[in-house]
């Protein structure tokens, strides 16, 4: 609490601890940034700006780079090198290497044992910690909020601001409590929670807000599950989503490379335990979902808000009272080539993608592998499994998960963003349907003309085996 005893939210505590200057009538707040993550796609123009103005990177020791978006995930060649076929991507990666070298920023290059998706490696290395401010030129920076950090995506101009000054101009957002109460059923996961939240509030429902995910269903999630939930905050319009740190958080962090140790660990723990929202603190908005009422979720349309329980029927535009929403739904169904009232269960699919900053961590791969073990991917389906980082890949291989995927007929690939963003060679062909564990089903997101159903790793694995959209609970119960 503050000196005057006014209860504060987790967000307010982190915000207040980082304001170099408070917001005034004339200027936004100036926020200090504890950690800046950079990657090859949204940084080149920022580095050019620094060069044009003769500026240095103020705190390279608070900055870290990794290659992830435009990198191929094709298996290594006989020399152990991941080949880059695309000359523009190669130039962008070379530019990134040069920029990080010139400005003294540590960076994990393609194929390095620590390289991976920026939002996978931050937590993995213990760089992501409770109470920090973290930014990256990537909207899924919200992932790091799972640790009780205030983490959000920024544009390239702002990347330049942080590189040069370690600060950002920000107007203070509002807060929304997102309560998820009760216990998840078998076959229902963190991904289903966040898809249900976004289906409820809509893709713009959180605009101007920071979410705080609360309630016993959230407390019951692993850190990786919490990251999946926070990751997609932006798909509900919120730049950031946070979960108060607790013993689950501390247990995950303890012993990681950049986590504090010894007496520093004890001091950090004492500090972190002060972060959770005080009893009686007010949020600007609040919504509540019942976890025990959730079943696996799937999207049917062209934004992540167009989601439904997997056994539901595709909604009909004629039932939509709002004209703009009716037009949008009609356009989406036309792109997806789906009919109103149609069931998605049993809909044949072409591709299954397990990966992305939403669902490429070891627990995601374990879930999918456990499901797929002893089964075969349908002949008509291409299944790609793309670990989020080289460390995740190594751990999965140590556990033999890659052999399970390969034996089932799936591809086991190198770490990167892969088919989530389709700017690296991994993409759908026009007209193909995919069940994807990624975060966006926008038109063309996974390749021009491609059609995406967003779902959990379990639903993706079940669908790969069936060759069609499938409810993982059906197979889980038949196995029991």
């Amino acid at each position: 609490m503050t000196a005057n005893g006014k209860p504060r939210t987790l967000f307010e505590k982190v915000w207040n601890a980082h304001t170099v200057r408070d917001q005034s009538e004339d200027t936004p707040a100036v926020l200090y940034i504890d950690l800046h993550l950079v990657h090859e796609v949204t940084s080149p123009q920022a580095f050019s700006m620094l060069r044009d103005r003769g500026l240095a990177v103020r705190r390279p020791d608070l900055t870290i780079g990794t290659m992830d978006h435009s990198t191929p995930t094709t298996p290594r060649n006989t020399l152990g090198v991941i080949p880059i076929a695309d000359s523009m991507a190669a130039k962008q990666l070379d530019t990134f290497t040069q920029n990080c070298d010139d400005f003294g920023i540590p960076m994990y290059a393609l194929g390095d044992e620590h390289q991976g998706i920026v939002h996978v490696i931050g937590p993995e290395k213990g760089l992501t910690q409770p109470g920090m401010t973290i930014v990256c030129g990537d909207s899924h920076t919200s992932t790091h909020g799972a640790f009780g950090a205030l983490a959000f995506g920024i544009g390239t101009s702002e990347v330049g601001h942080v590189l040069a000054t370690q600060t950002l101009l920000q107007n203070k957002p509002k807060t929304m409590a997102v309560n998820v109460e009760g216990k998840l059923g078998d076959g229902v996961t963190a991904k289903d929670i966040i898809l249900a939240i976004i289906a409820r509030i809509g893709i713009g429902g959180g605009t101007g807000h920071v979410f705080e995910y609360r309630g016993d269903a959230i407390r019951g999630l692993s850190m990786e599950g919490r990251m999946t939930v926070c990751n997609m905050s932006i798909e509900g319009g919120a730049r950031a989503g946070m979960v108060a740190p607790d013993d689950t958080t501390f247990e995950y962090m303890n012993g990681r490379q950049h986590a504090p140790s010894g007496a520093d660990w004890d001091a950090a723990l004492a500090r972190w335990r002060q972060l959770p929202t005080d009893a009686g603190a007010a949020f600007d908005q609040e919504i509540t979902l019942r976890a025990d009422e959730l079943i696996p979720m799937i999207t049917y349309g062209t934004n992540p808000g167009m989601g439904m329980p997997i056994d539901a029927a595709v909604p009909a535009p004629v039932d939509e009272p709002d004209v703009n929403r009716r037009v949008a739904l009609d356009k989406a169904l036309s792109y997806m080539d789906l009919q109103p009232g149609q069931q998605l269960l049993g809909k044949p699919i072409d591709v299954v993608f397990i990966g992305s900053c939403t669902n490429s961590r070891i627990s995601d791969l374990r879930q999918a592998a456990a499901f797929i073990q002893g089964r075969k991917v349908a002949d008509s389906v291409r299944m790609m499994v793309v670990p989020g980082s080289q460390q995740v890949k190594k751990q999965a291989e140590d556990e033999g998960l890659h052999e399970i995927f390969r034996a089932a007929g799936a591809e086991w690939r190198e770490a990167g963003c892969s088919m989530c963003i389709a700017m690296n060679g991994d993409q759908l062909q026009p007209g193909q349907y995919a069940v994807s564990t990624s975060n966006r089903n926008f038109e063309g997101r996974q390749g021009k003309g491609g059609r995406t159903f967003l779902a959990s790793p379990l639903t993706a694995a079940a669908s790969a085996i069936a060759g069609a959209v499938s409810d993982p609970r059906t197979i889980l119960s038949s196995a029991n």
Binding site: V20, E25, D26, Y32, D34, L35, V41, T42, P44, Q45, M49, R53, L55, R58, P60, D61, L62, T63, H69, S70, M88, K91, Q92, I105, P106, L127, G131, M132, G137, S139, G153, I154, G155, S157, E158, G160, H161, A164, T165, Q166, T167, L168, L169, N171, G204, T207, G208, G237, R239, H258, G305, N324, R325, V327, A328, A422, P430, R440, G444, K448
Partner: protein
């Protein structure tokens, strides 16, 4: 950044809700290392046929009567999704100086303002009126006054739009925000002295 005091220009409407930044500029165009040339890829997958080069004659930006439009009227919640600043760069490259919607995604709004592209947030009624006007008479023009924060419709009606004071100052004076932050060097140094470093990436 160039000064922006007024916009006087033709309008064109893409009345689609939730236009995400992947539609404004698809990811395959993000392999660039500068900002040049993105204008021709704006709305690429709506604007061109499957070969990626032949204009789609039904798409409004390809119609001869809308050439030269500088104010885009969009559906609700414009610019959601990816944080790519390539979106405003592409819109500016395609000749736009302002976008009108009932709501803008947070990151897009920030990115647009830093590049002199004005997000003009209006009520649904005004938005609908503008969509109809653009449809009925492609020569329709609007006037935007940044200082007064007004959009003047063809019938002379002024509609106020929100704009934070600092962004307004930067637009009117053609200055970017980095200069302001650089001038706070001493404040940042003091903050760093009082707050221990959380991590050291170079360690």
């Amino acid at each position: 950044m160039e000064k922006l005091n007024h916009i006087q220009g033709m309008i064109v409407a893409i009345p689609v809700n939730d236009i995400d930044t992947d539609q404004i500029i698809p990811a395959r165009f993000l392999k660039v290392t500068d900002k040049a040339g993105l204008g021709k890829a704006a709305f690429c997958d709506w604007r061109y046929q499957d070969d990626g080069v032949t204009p789609n004659p039904d798409f409004v930006l390809n119609k001869s009567e809308y050439q030269g439009a500088s104010v885009l009227i969009a559906g609700n919640n414009f610019g959601c999704g990816s944080s790519r600043e390539h979106a405003p760069w592409a819109l500016i490259g395609a000749g736009f100086k302002g976008v009108i919607s009932t709501e803008f995604a947070d990151i897009f709004r920030n990115n647009a303002l830093k590049n002199g592209l004005l997000p003009i947030e209006v009520d649904a009624e005004t938005q609908e009126q503008l969509v109809s006007l653009a449809d009925e008479d492609p020569s329709t023009t609007v006037r935007v006054d940044v200082e007064r924060q007004t959009l003047t419709l063809p019938d002379g009606r002024d509609v106020k739009f929100p704009l934070d004071g600092f962004s307004k100052y930067c637009l009117l004076n053609g200055v970017d925000q980095l200069g302001y932050l650089l001038n706070l060097h001493d404040d940042v140094r003091d903050f760093e002295a009082q707050n221990p470093q959380r991590v050291r990436t170079t360690a």
